[in-house]
Symmetry: C2
């Protein structure tokens, strides 16, 4: 007994409708009725497949995750043997300006970003395997990579949209691999060792 074609049709219709709507308006502003309208699906049918709008988003992103992992696997199996996810992402996000806007957007952005972060972290977690983490906690490293990537991406699109992908990538690498010059970080980190000592001693 193969899977009923009707269910895959309705589900993909709903998936597609969601992304179409995300491209058009804030995620938070999207209503279930909107999705039903866009997908041409009955209300009861929707709730027969998903428990809520958020549930739909989750499962949509699971699809995205599987796709990313698949792509990466393909690249690894290929002869080229090379794979630079960050660079590739920077190169291609420009083609999805509307998605960018959705991710940057005021209110809906937060939940959406949260979900996307989770997916990226999942992919990285699978990718890193059990390799060395340079003495740093693996999970912290993963979260930091995701956060730094997203920070760079958002800054790029919001403050320097004209910048070339390669430049954004370079900034990203600098932040991630070399960090900040000490004097730049002073306002947050403290002035110098003397100060730190005086504080902890008091």
């Amino acid at each position: 007994m193969a899977i009923d074609r009707r269910v895959v049709r309705t589900r993909t219709a709903l998936y597609d409708a969601l992304v179409a709507l995300i491209r058009a308006k804030d995620y938070e502003a999207i209503t279930v009725d909107d999705i039903l309208d866009e997908a041409n699906v009955g209300r009861s049918t929707f709730y027969a497949h998903f428990t809520s709008k958020d549930d739909l988003l989750q499962r949509s992103l699971e699809r995205l995750r599987d796709l990313l992992v698949g792509v990466r696997q393909g690249a690894l199996d290929g002869v080229e043997g090379g794979w630079d996810p960050a660079r590739a992402l920077f190169e291609h996000v420009g083609e999805y300006a509307d998605v960018q806007a959705a991710l940057a957007g005021g209110h809906g952005g937060a939940v959406l970003r949260e979900a996307v972060d989770k997916v990226l972290a999942d992919v990285l977690r699978q990718t890193m395997g059990a390799g060395p983490a340079g003495g740093l906690p693996r999970e912290l490293v993963i979260q930091h990579m995701v956060a730094t990537f997203n920070t760079t991406l958002r800054w790029w699109r919001e403050h320097r949209p004209a910048m070339a992908p390669a430049e954004a990538d370079a900034l990203f690498r600098q932040l991630l691999l070399r960090g900040l010059p000490a004097d730049v970080a002073t306002p947050f980190i403290g002035a110098d060792e003397r100060v730190v000592k005086s504080l902890s001693g008091a």
Copy 2:
């Protein structure tokens, strides 16, 4: 005509009620009626002062921001001349485990974190003034500091709650000032120069 005492009473009552509720349940799950209940304020009165729950949150955080800036200013004016915000934050967040939980929480967390991030960024922005940014875009630096701090903080509370504040701070400084060892970042950054070249050449 001095400011009517009634308005400051109701407003602080609402501020306090909000934080009390945030400590008890998810931000998203908090309803206006909950706040009204907790603060003993009439519905119409609430809407006479704030336009929505989010508005209340915003203004609450503006208060927090002013407080942070004030504290910092005081520290700068003091003779000690030292100030290590990050370290101080790491030292004290342990006392607010409930707030931590609120910030970490599944759904409500996202909006809340967004707002808090904004406040931190504001404070830093004021703090940095026009100093050098080491050739890096100032806004990017600010965002990166905030993001790295929050990443470390969340990881700490979620994965190593027993860790000492000083240790968490040390990890934070390493991520921020030295970055990641290249081999650790490979899964996200690419293998080596040869690979990068082959990709960009193709």
